[in-house]
Subunit: 432 residues, 2 copies
């Protein structure tokens, strides 16, 4: 056999925000270590960003500057195009496509790009003999893409769950630990700079939903299907819900869950209750966690920083080092042509649900709620009614396992009774 | 570039205990899935074990039987030799050497073999253009070898810790949860079949020490040095220690810790106190956990089953699938010739210690202990003395950070005072 190449691996890096600068620092400061491990030098040929003059805390003088990321991606002296521009379309997409068409390998941290165009990009990569890797796009420094794609390749994956948006977990943790309202915790996260320019990307679950769609594709051999992820943000979670959940031994997390069952592909990113003593329940603050269930391995839990310069740059460098060592793995763990377009499940796997609603001060109100649940086939596991406050009585219900469809039917019937104020809160309780 | 091969990858499997049988089942039952993911078929050419007639719950009729694992390793129709025989020498070593010399790739779950002969085998593999992988040897189904070798290749690793012997963690957990003595919990684990034929491999920390030595090599680019792992088993941990630790907010775990510092390579596998609310502190029962600190990634925690048919076979198959996809990574993450022979640290990084001793009923006894600690430069953070029982008074001390050398000097002086019965228990408190 011919030995592996010892020629330097030459990077072109587009996007020099904190992550891009972090990658440059690692390549500069760990040159000898990287060469020892990969058996060849890692070099940077050229870089690109919007603003050439910004101080990024690292010298860029020895690299060619290229204003246009597409031109950077096509340079003859670039073996790997590192895309850290961001955005599902625009320059990031154009440059990644240009790199792949030129047969260059691509490493990206861009979850939005892959969530929207993953299938087409995976096909383009394979047509051109290039690899497209994206460990940094999901759960920051946690090596979950590699674990699913490679380590667990001998498993049928039965479920992947994750807390993958540190900002949401920070807000929920602060609500609980400091007794803050959602609005106050949101404002605190905003003041700390934790929120995206469009906060709905965080608190609406969109960012975490992108990540879940990528994990589902690898886990189940399906084409990325972000548009069928059921998204529900954390904006309706109240401090009351958090306290009640806690009293019952649960925590509320913005939890991504995906499964492939006879009903189809389930993908949801929504506030869920998890047991307080489980690893997910114990996850406080901005940390991320991914839980993988496989038919052979049982349950694997991985925890780490989901964002930040070091963790994200670490993930980018893991992909770069794989390429330097000659590792050639398909984008989603199987050839793009073998990925199937899964039918979205019409209703999720049955689960117990937590319900909170405000009953009007009318005779027989609770009986009407109970009857509506019973008529829909939803049975009640626990129920608590509290004293009336301003003519409304909070009622908490934990159901036995039910389908979401049956629950929605019950909620519709409850709305029709006229005894409930506002829309009830309904959160799934996920077994871990 | 030439595309990857689509020829079947042919395995020869030596050792058909639960793990070997598990691997055969996966290859048979997931044939299509494996082919989709790897882009080629995974086949078994021949198998070997001591007893041909045993019922292993899976048909072996379509595979050649080979009594001699060395002959199996050298067959022309074997691309990958899967060694699940076990043992640091004897047939396992002979067969792995034969396979590597014949240029065959090797996948093994044999921690003892690699802990004792890892450097020589890594050199042999590289001389013959073969790869030698061993994910299943450390922490069962947890993909820690791959995470360290590949995902975190852009990091300087600052520490690796782990609970990597499920039997010991089971014993310690049962002592705490059921109030059992060490002897009673040991007997329970024995009755459940959790113990190795030589129980000292488990409770003496040897098995877990093998695993730690392998992780240290990858983390720090050092030659495997099992002989310099400081080993201390759990046999001296008493129910009193567990209760006292719990009162102070700690759990006692058989914890492996390795670091490379200016003092040299530290490797220890010993009972340690860890915060009860940390992921390690919350790890109950037979589950394993590895905690990796990297300068870029921060802290990564991985948790999963450390043993058993499915988890171990999952790890074996992860390595097999890597080879099927053409991945060629060096055994310990860097070429064997680049691994350095690290000097063992003479004394570990300073840490607080937990001490328990029985004071004789003599005037001034406690003062003598305190003086001995002070003279050695060990300062006391917390101290409790209890009522005398049978003329001895239990004393608990938590020190401030100290070196083990200073502590040992103090313990020697304390022994010289004649006021302490038996040998004091001294356990490190590891920050997490």
């Amino acid at each position: 056999m011919s030995g592996p190449t010892t020629e330097p691996l030459r990077l072109g890096i587009a996007g020099l925000g904190t992550v891009g600068a972090g990658v440059v620092k690692i390549v500069r400061q760990k040159s000898a270590l990287l060469q020892d491990r990969a058996g060849r030098r890692i070099e940077i040929s050229a870089v690109s960003a919007r603003n050439r003059d910004k101080d990024r805390g690292v010298s860029l003088a020895s690299y060619d500057w290229q204003d246009d990321p597409v031109a950077l991606a096509q340079r003859d002296d670039v073996d790997v195009f590192v895309e850290l521009v961001g955005g599902s379309d625009g320059p990031a997409k154009a440059a990644v496509e240009a790199a792949l068409k030129a047969g260059k390998d691509v490493v990206t941290a861009n979850k939005a790009l892959l969530a929207h165009h993953g299938q087409a990009l995976a096909e383009l990569a394979e047509q051109n003999g290039a690899v497209l890797r994206f460990e940094a796009a999901v759960a920051g420094g946690i090596p979950v893409i590699k674990a699913l794609t490679e380590s667990l390749a001998g498993n049928d994956i039965t479920r992947v769950m994750g807390v993958m948006n540190g900002t949401c977990n920070y807000i929920l943790t602060r609500m609980e630990s400091a007794g803050l309202s959602y609005a106050a915790a949101f404002a605190e996260a905003d003041a700390l700079g934790f929120l995206e320019a469009d906060p709905e990307l965080d608190v609406g679950g969109i960012d975490a939903g992108h990540k879940l769609a990528l994990l589902a594709s690898i886990a189940f051999g399906t084409q990325v299907a972000f548009s069928s992820v059921e998204l529900e943000g954390i904006g309706r979670v109240s401090i009351d819900d958090i306290r009640q959940a806690s009293d019952m031994g649960y925590k509320i997390k913005l939890l991504g869950v995906c499964r492939l069952t006879g009903r189809g592909l389930e993908q949801s990113m929504s506030p869920c209750l998890v047991p307080a003593t489980s690893p997910l329940g114990q996850l406080d603050g901005g940390t991320n966690m991914v839980v993988i269930d496989g038919d052979q391995v049982g349950q694997i839990v991985m925890r780490g920083a989901g964002a930040g310069e070091g963790p994200t740059a670490s993930a980018v460098m893991g992909d770069v080092m794989d390429i330097a060592r000659g590792t050639r793995v398909t984008t989603f763990g199987a050839p793009a042509s073998r990925l199937v377009a899964a039918t979205p499940a019409q209703t999720a796997t049955p689960a117990p649900y937590y319900l909170r609603m405000n009953l009007a001060d009318k005779p027989g109100a609770l009986a009407k709620v109970a009857a509506a649940l019973g008529d829909a086939g939803v049975s009640i596991h626990r129920m608590r009614q509290y004293d009336h406050i301003d003519s409304a009585a909070p009622v908490l219900i934990v159901t036995h396992k039910t389908t979401r469809a049956a629950l929605d039917q019950a909620l519709e019937a409850i709305a029709g009774t006229g005894v409930v104020q506002d829309t009830p809160v309904a959160l799934r309780i996920e077994a871990v």
